[in-house]
Amino acid sequence: MSLSAPPRLLEVKDLSVHFKVYSGVLKVLDGVTFSVDAGEKVGLVGETGCGKTTTMKAILRILPIPPAVVPRGEILFQGEDLLRMRPDQMRQVRGPGISMVFQDPTASLNPVFTIGEQLGPVIRYSAPENRGLSRRQIRQKALIPLQDVALADPERLLDAYPIQLSGGMRQRVCIGMALATNPELLIADEPGTSLDVTIQDQVIRLLGELVERKRTSVILITHSLGVVREMTDRVYVMYAGNMVEVAPTRRLFANPLHPYTRGLMEAVPKLTGGGMAMGIPGRLPSYQHPPSGCRFHTRCPHVMPVCRREKPPFFQAEAGHQAACFLYSPEAERHRNEAQA
């Protein structure tokens, strides 16, 4: 990297995560590489079990080790490798550096403490100058994140238990809590999935406005292509522990390249009607015995001999638009001819 270019906010290089289980080793993440710039909203899309959440947990180092192991890779956050940090250094990163909103707000809030009791410590440890504050001062400060997420009557909410709030309100509390530390990077893992459509719309819109105002970078993890399209600047598509495509959001939706991304886009039911596509045949491969070469080749309609032999690297199709597929390699013609021979 040249010295003049500032380091990216987050740069994940060749990250692999395996799980050692009774029956063998599950090779879940297989060389995941991606980056997030300051102020950028990045989407990470993929179906159940493709490794989205594992990637994020690896970044925050909250993977259960064992059974998880990280055999190789680097996670550079503001130029420093999180994988090499001591636990106490890592604690400094969680919160002020990176914070997270989880999918199910009911599970991420403790049912036996009030919102105030859970929000208080977040405020206290979010900045060194907050350490010495009195309880009353912390309480005053705790009102701000609740106001940020447009919750009515925050004073009363501080004394409420999570069960007294609706799902949408709980998720707002979680978003407020995650942003209370003014993090550089917010990881939002399916923030609207457990909510109703109209409430999801509210929550996603609120999240978008807040990060815009606070200039926080975001990684939005979701399986919903629609949410990604409305909220992000750039999208990574993930399949079976691999990044398969990256593009600016508009371009990805206008012209998806990777056969998996295309299949996914076709499979989404359209509001314009016209019937349902058949979807993608087959199923997610086993992580214990992943297919050789490209992990998608078992389901791919365009499979070529080379796909079974080699793992495709990212090929540049247009500026900023890359796909990990041999169809876009400079030698695609040769690969195709090999298929016919």
């Binding site: 459509v197 509210q202 399986h223 949410v227 039911p269 993608i280």
Partner: protein
């Protein structure tokens, strides 16, 4: 009249969730379904759409006879489904089957696929060659016959749901209730299930009551759509008409909240209506129209008087004061 397979008239289900106090034994109820009327025609797919807590699943459970209504009637080909309470004659039970949302929990993990498919056959078709029937059922849904020796956990989510569909078809029903059959599945397998359901519907002249929260999905499968909000139906129309001219403010809000994936879809959505407010608790319903707390077009009357379903065009009804004759407030207050 022969054409209408299922008719619900003023159907109600109020669950008692507690009492006001030890002394005052007035029950506190959740009005899960509160006066719902609809008709399902033979061979059609009626989409019942609503958010969580709107009562759509309760309607499904009443139709298959798992839950007894607190009021109103439910007629199947003119027969009252609750003439004997929850006890329903075998031939009637055979005609109405259901596919549940989560195949992971609706299939017994200790039974093989063969045992799962045999059970309805033993009850409803005694004397038939069970082994042959199971193979026929698997063939019907394009699963290889070897699958009958597998256990549910050996199958993928999509395959499990296909087995659940085969089980529903085992009794040769005429009405199948699909309670969010694809919402636990990934989009890439959703299409396969839906296309299978559509094929089976044609093949066996099935009638579907399709329950979902996904309007984009409804656009592609339903012939008619009914929207529910807090135990009431607020709009019913033929699918094409419904998506082109949504009438009720709630429907418009719902449609404009859907995240879509293309410009073409963006164009058919109603103009952006900012969704506001929370869904009120079904224990404590707002007075008047239950949507008035979130409605962008709320009028004074909405806070006092409950609207009724009125026709807005052919085959299209909506429950909203915007489409009723204007009512004036009098010295005695709002008419009720």
């Amino acid at each position: 009249m022969d054409d209408e397979v299922l008719i619900a008239q003023d159907l109600k289900k109020h669950f008692v969730i507690g009492y006001e106090s030890l002394m005052n034994r007035r029950p506190i109820t959740v009005k899960a379904v509160d006066g719902v009327s609809f008709r399902v025609r033979r061979g059609e797919t009626l989409g019942l759409v609503g958010e969580s807590g709107s009562g759509k699943s309760t309607i499904a459970y009443m139709t298959v006879g798992m839950v007894q209504p607190s009021g109103g009637t439910l007629l199947f080909r003119g027969q009252d489904l609750f003439a004997n309470g929850l006890k329903r004659a075998l031939p009637l039970r055979k005609e109405i089957q259901i596919v549940f949302q989560d195949p992971g929990s609706s299939l017994n993990p200790r039974r093989t696929i063969q045992q799962i498919l045999e059970l309805p056959l033993r009850i409803h078709a005694p004397g038939k060659d069970l082994g042959q029937e199971v193979v026929r059922l698997l063939d019907l849904v394009d699963l290889p016959p070897e699958y009958m020796h597998k256990y549910p956990q050996m199958l993928s989510g999509g395959e499990k749901q296909i087995v659940a569909i085969a089980r529903a078809l085992a009794t040769n029903p005429s009405l199948v209730i699909l309670d969010e059959p694809t919402s636990a599945l990934d989009v890439s397998v959703q299409g396969k299930i839906i296309n299978l359901l559509i094929r089976l519907q044609r093949e066996f002249d099935l009638t579907y009551l399709f329950i979902t929260h996904d309007l984009s999905l409804m656009r592609n499968v339903a012939s008619r759509v009914a929207i529910m909000y807090l135990g009431r139906i607020c709009e019913v129309a033929d699918a094409a008409e419904f998506f082109q001219f949504p009438q009720h403010p709630y429907t418009q809000m719902l449609l404009s909240s859907i995240p879509v994936v293309s410009e073409a879809e963006e164009a058919v959505k109603p103009k952006k209506i900012i969704s506001t407010g929370e869904i009120p608790s079904p224990v404590n319903l707002p007075k008047g129209c239950s949507f008035h707390t979130r409605c962008p077009q709320v009028m004074d009357i909405c806070k006092h008087v409950d609207p009724i379903l009125v026709g807005t065009s052919a085959g299209h009804t909506a429950r909203c004061h915007l489409f009723e004759q204007p009512v004036e407030v009098t010295a005695q207050g709002w008419p009720t």
